[in-house]
Symmetry: C2
Subunit: 459 residues, 2 copies
């Protein structure tokens, strides 16, 4: 008699868990049913801005695996347009509503449960509206609706993007590429608060250089509409005319169902798991992806970091363990990269404020260097900022802003942060050198030298 | 009464040592004299192929700092065209011959000596010739002579490059870019023996694709000449016609002077130093750069790795310590990158043969991945190969071949090798993800997963 694994949520985390478990256990040992409330499984939500901009031609390109693929190649019973509405831990049963089938209710027994419902967009009161022309861009369904709106016979000309994080900035760029007039409204001091203000100002300049009207420190208070269609965005400043409004206000863990079932939720709002992605204190229930809380290896604090890369890894770890093998997810260090027009932006570890908030005493070092040898064609500047603990010199965080071949250098610093390297030891790192790829002192080494000098001189 | 520092060799290592010492000690505390036998100081020898090809327009662009700059800004008495011929450790004196001044002999007292004479090209008997049209490309003077030869009124049309290492391959590309017919002759199984044969074959294909006639496993036995000019290269196979021959046969530490003075030389032929770059057992004498032996952090063996990046670091470390501060050079891990046409090639740690030779038992994992998300414009394939110790899974080495945004990913693996990470832990690394930069599983993570699977299954 096989066990039954039920997965709630058919995107990165859930389907990684399911397919990894399948690789280790055959269908006669483990039946797998996956419920997905939308129409798609396993797609790249991060690719949505590039589909909107037209850089990616077809949304099908964003789909990694179709439901049919999971059924055929993995023997996973994927049920799209099924929303799970209730988990009964005692009865070992989930209840789902199938919108594919006249809202029919289905019940499914489980021996093992994977909770992978992802995140839901943050929506202030004014954004909870039926006004036409207002869009989130969290799911491929959202994006398809936005594309339809942009492709109307009389297409919108003025766009307002609310929120200056990764999605907001990427969407602002996508919309200006489509020829719309774009205003980016953000509550913070400047867009991209995922880097320190001294680095974020470069992002702001790049956005302004594209012709985007960037309004920082502005609070949205409501929407203007006419005939049910959006006409403008009201702020504490004035009203910005808009034919289309895109909301990029961040997300929170989607835990309503979990909380009703009594799964434990941490201070970040995410579900609490152990290192194997087992929900703490709840036998045979696992969780992974944007709905869980993880921990930051540098700050030691619980964090909620909704990123596809973590979701995939956590899902895979859960699948390994469900499959009878062994794996752990040992936390994150906050690495992220993005491209804004020709500007590349990257970070890892802690920002200044984050380091301060957890009690680190630190120095910072910011250097200008180059992606290639100065004399090599295509040489372009980049700025690297390091944050290092006083006395020990431990690398706590790093940020990079540059125009090309810049952002992924953050991975070098990420591995250094991961291994708790000191900036002193980092000055000796054996990194690749050849004129097409780096000055003889790689930018990472230049930054480490500067940081080490400052650490030494402040001792 | 100031101390006197004498530096032998005015390139990367020597001038890094001198300028770093100067930053820590004023001229009234430390006088610095640097002897350089050539006409240039501190230039990028790695940039020579790009000057030959014409990608870099002017050799001046390769010069980091002129002798005059060192005199003016650093108060360092640089004497070019001065060849040091004798070191008298007892008398604390060096003897040099000034070719700038009618071969006049000069003597200079030292309290502290930095030996930084670099490397000399390997020259088999047949290459020790005055035949016109035969060139090394080790120094800027060599390169200038080659440029002059290529720029004759009746320019050479057929080139033979002997040696398939970095310099040979880069020179072959440079010459074909200038429109010459190029034959690359190499003794080894294939060019670029700095990567494993299964990766090197991709380099061979790229060279052949450029139209370079690659002849592997061929031994050069002599030169044909007429009227003192080279006409062909004789091999154990046949004779290859040539109007110009470029020698890229590797280098050995330039230690003649040092050995005559009694400085200790190790098994690799390089001068032995401690971690601070002090010559072992010889008070107040330091050595750095292509003339020294260092050690490999993964194999534990002494190695000679003549690369500008190490020379700069070692010189800086010596300068720090001479200046009264503290720094160490903690060895190398064999990282190197190069670009052959549009192909990027990179390595770090040990090759299979090297790992075997020092007694490691290991597995290998080779994966195909992509520089960007598969749907993102510009996505291009890359191959990553990892070598991991059996049982422990410790990453021993890595190699990458790809077409763009590939080679510098080796740095991520280099930091992992440096920190003795296991491929198991590496699967969890928090690397940057966004569609323009990486698939959601970064190629490094894909490779780590595969290697970890293999390590687990062979236990």
């Amino acid at each position: 008699m096989p066990q039954r694994l039920v997965v709630i949520g058919g995107d990165a985390a859930g389907m990684s868990a399911a397919s990894q478990a399948r690789q280790l256990r055959d269908a006669d040992d483990l039946e797998i049913v996956a419920f997905e409330r939308g129409r798609f499984t396993s797609y790249s939500a991060c690719g949505i801005p590039y589909w909107i901009s037209g850089l990616v031609k077809d949304h099908q390109e964003l789909i990694v695996r179709e439901p049919e693929t999971f059924r055929r190649d993995y023997d996973i019973d994927v049920r799209i347009r099924h929303e799970v509405t209730h988990i009964d831990l005692d009865a070992r049963e989930v209840v789902a509503t199938s919108s594919a089938d006249g809202d029919r209710e289905v019940r499914e027994h489980f021996d093992i449960l994977v909770y992978a419902t992802g995140a839901v967009p943050t929506r202030p009161q004014w954004a909870r509206t039926d006004t036409m022309g207002v869009f989130g861009v969290q799911t491929l369904d959202d994006a398809a609706a936005l594309r339809d709106w942009l492709d109307q016979d009389e297409p919108p000309r003025r766009a307002v993007v609310v929120g200056g994080g990764y999605i907001g900035v990427e969407m602002a760029e996508a919309l200006i590429r489509r020829g719309l007039a774009v205003t980016l409204i953000d509550r913070g001091e400047q867009p991209m608060s995922t880097v320190d203000p001294d680095m974020g100002v470069k992002v702001r300049d790049a956005l302004a250089g594209l012709g985007i009207d960037v309004r920082s420190g502005v609070l949205v208070t409501g929407l203007d509409e006419r005939d049910g269609r959006v006409r403008g965005v009201r702020t504490d400043d004035d009203t910005v005319p808009a034919d289309v409004v895109v909301l990029g206000l961040g997300v929170r863990p989607n835990t309503g169902l979990a909380e009703r079932a009594g799964l434990p939720v941490g201070v970040t709002g995410g579900i609490r798991t152990d290192l194997q992605m087992r929900v703490i204190g709840v036998p045979d229930v696992w969780a992974a992806g944007d709905c869980v809380e993880t921990f930051h290896r540098v700050s030691g604090q619980p964090v909620h970091v909704p990123l596809g890369t973590h979701a995939n890894k956590q899902g895979r770890v859960a699948g390994f363990n469900i499959g009878g093998s062994y794996a752990t997810f040992p936390g994150v260090i906050g690495t992220a990269v993005t491209k804004v027009c020709e500007l590349e932006v990257a970070r890892t570890g802690l920002l200044e404020q984050e380091a301060h908030d957890v009690g680190y005493s630190f120095v910072t070092a910011t250097v200008e260097s180059s992606n290639r040898a100065g004399y090599f064609p295509g040489a372009a500047p980049m700025t690297i900022k390091l944050i290092a603990e006083q006395h020990t010199g431990q690398l706590l965080g790093a940020q990079i802003v540059g125009s090309t071949e810049a952002a992924k250098r953050i991975d070098v610093l990420a591995v250094a942060v991961w291994n708790r390297m000191s900036v002193s030891e980092m000055t000796a790192l054996d990194l690749g050198y050849a004129p097409p790829f780096s000055p003889v002192w790689d930018p990472v080494l230049v930054a480490a030298r500067r940081a080490n000098d400052i650490v030494s001189n402040t001792d």
